[in-house]
Symmetry: none
Subunit: 184 residues, 6 copies
């Protein structure tokens, strides 16, 4: 039996990952296609994946991490990371996601992100959500641009991909922008 739904969109539902989802998480986090978008360089073991169980990203109870499901079948993972660094607590989170390779191309990342952004702005009350996409990752850029994010910078040489340094883009979306866009 799948766990309880926390948020729902038209096609996708978002729910806390449970122990039964560990195989799905492990397989996809280690998959080269999924890792490419995250430039994940190290393998995930079962222990690493436990951070992703339960809905609040390990001990960080202000982040939210949810399994993306379609017809109760897990297809990916979406999260708002709110790690507090030093003195700052500026009502901000970072959006990230991955979709299993054989489920990609269906718009699930966009829909799941939209649902989680609604919750982040209207439920939690965040002022801003940021995101990153590697310069080479057109798919990820399309997703954040479709969601209404503005590109705020180009970080030169911050990823080492396929034997060379690569830039990534940094995006930002303010609460008021999200609301205007939604009301159009």
């Amino acid at each position: 039996m799948p766990g309880p739904v926390f948020l729902a969109g038209d096609r996708v539902t978002l729910r806390p990952a449970e122990r039964d989802d560990v195989d799905f998480l492990l397989e996809n986090r280690n998959d080269p296609a999924v890792r490419a978008g995250r430039t994940a360089k190290y393998p995930s073991g079962r222990d690493d994946v436990e951070t992703f169980l339960g809905g609040t990203m390990g001990r960080n109870d202000q982040s939210i991490g949810l399994l993306v499901c379609v017809d109760e079948r897990p297809v990916g993972y979406v999260l708002i990371n709110r790690e507090r660094m030093g003195d700052s607590e500026y009502d901000r989170g970072e959006l990230a996601y991955w979709i299993a390779p054989d489920e990609s191309g269906n718009g699930y990342a966009t829909e799941a992100s939209r649902v989680l952004l609604d919750h982040s702005f209207d439920g939690i009350g965040l002022h801003k959500v940021v995101a990153r996409a590697f310069e080479s990752n057109d798919g990820s850029q399309r997703v954040v641009e479709k969601l209404g994010f503005t590109r705020e910078g180009t970080f030169r040489d911050e990823a080492y991909v396929d034997g060379a340094w690569e830039d990534y883009y940094r995006y930002g979306l303010l609460r008021e922008e999200w609301r205007e866009r939604r009301s159009e």
Copy 2:
């Protein structure tokens, strides 16, 4: 086999939640309809739910939290929270509850609260029980008003709900008021 009954009303029984109740607790704590009344913004994982097992709300052995059951079937949760804050220990507790969406509308919240209030005033000897209800939550206001609570204040802008600040009402019920009402 369901766990032992701690308190009983006409239709409902209240018993400590056990490990077998975790699925029920998880599903309902994450359900958007149940969360709305509590404005719960973060998902509950299995670990979070363990706080609710055993009848005394985690390590806080002066609080009481019990599963509400009808015909041995769990339908909700009711609790008297007695977190001590600072110097105060004024014989006071806060009533809270939730009912599973497909069991709501049957008066179970009112009956379960009544049973736990009897125990709180006559068994434990509390001097006062308080409660909160969001301004938009008519159902919850009706329950506490039916129980005889007096509205003692309106807290402006203390909840962020559906993208806007909302007020909530604060209620109080004194032991003598409870007794008079019961004896009528």
Copy 3:
């Protein structure tokens, strides 16, 4: 298979509670009829009940707590509590017990107490055993009086029961009294 017998009477045997007895302990400790005699105000969870496993009452290795059994079937619990208070350690213990509601009225409490008193005076060498009974609890008073306890005081307003302060009686039984009585 029930655990090993520690003490035996004509009908009852006393043995350390084991993990398989947790359901019995839980159900009865939470039962309103059993709680009435103890004025237990808070629910017991599985963790709370672990204190009662093993025969020596949690970490207190000078107390003794044993399951009362009839034909290997658990029917209640009896204990000699020797919590040390401050400087005093006057070779004294406090007797307490409860019997499951559907097993009460058969004299099991009296017989189990008698067996444990024999052990306390002759086995451990206690000088005195004390006991308490609420003024409203005739059954418990009959048990301790049948065992030969002397009422030594009336403690006014020391229990809050059913919404009012109630007195309780304090009893004492000296080793020499126990021995005389037994030899009669």
Copy 4:
């Protein structure tokens, strides 16, 4: 040498309490006149006072607690308490303060609160600050009313003072209210 100033008003400076301030904190926290405003029922020892050293109220690194000084001489203590309770994180804090009896009547509580409110609203960005004052504590009511707080409720029988139950008032001040008032 006194510790470093964190915030400054016209006459008062606010700085983290240090080990050398323990005697001042102890003496005043135990003083019956200071305790009356807080209805503090238990004595403070040196260990208790350590919570108040360092500026962030023990382990709670989102609260702020500062010594109020005049001409580098400590005269009181002011704090914004931001204990998170349950699911709520509504950008809110509670203001509290005390002034040493021989320094009272000079408006130090009002000025210190004003400085800390400026920091809470403009520096930290809180949405609301709340406060409590016992019905019998005219001085404290005057301070919060002078600061622009609105009375949002009367909590009946929530303090036990001098042998009788007493009400206290609950106040709230929104960021926008603070700004309007300041700009007048």
Copy 5:
């Protein structure tokens, strides 16, 4: 410099014991004359005495223990012990005290107890305070009787004193009794 005063009577002041008071506490707790009233059988070391520093009796933050002082000179110790035992939390405490031998006979125990009883009933709101006195300890009986305590029982053979078992008396004083007496 002596520590801060927590409660004050006509002649005596009560304040939390501090590290500088350890010698006074050690000397008197070990003094045979002081021990006689408490039947203290074991020596106190410096570590044992730390329990008595700070005003709240070790980690038990609902008990109160204070040094009795006359003209800032320590002359004894008075306490309300509120150790919770099992399920009971009946708004009750136990009064105890000792006075240094060369300061006894001046009524300090009575005055210090009176001040602490006022605080226990009117400040904390206890329903009852109990006390014990050995049958042989006329002085201690006179103090509690002068304070208005009622003898509620005689506990046979509960102290072993000078080579023989001795009884002690148990006393009780209800809040309403204290108030009536005071108003006479």
Copy 6:
């Protein structure tokens, strides 16, 4: 006696902070003028400052934090922060610094940063160093621009300063850029 020098420039030396430097660190970290550049919202206590003792920024042994000294007199602090975020560890660090108000305007921040950048690129072998400056902080922007950093983005609304959201600039400096500049 000041501790051993770790890195040296023409006028400044950089050395690990020691216990004797706690007063200097405390006073400046709490100083409103120093805090303005860091938008530090919470006070620093002595315990917080211990993170800055020893040269490697608390438990993070890949970061470097050093006291900036002139003639053995501490004038500020400079650090390369290498907190790892998620999977990334791209040979990158973030430069930060502060100078005591009465020592500012002498170019110490620039010189200390230059010395630490030399060590970061040539000693540690970092590929890139990043930095941030609030839009309102002209002084800090001048320092990083003088050092050769390129502005890579403008982060909208990521700081809450003096009651309003403010942008900050994000800068980057690659190892090859640093070397070219130095060889000019």
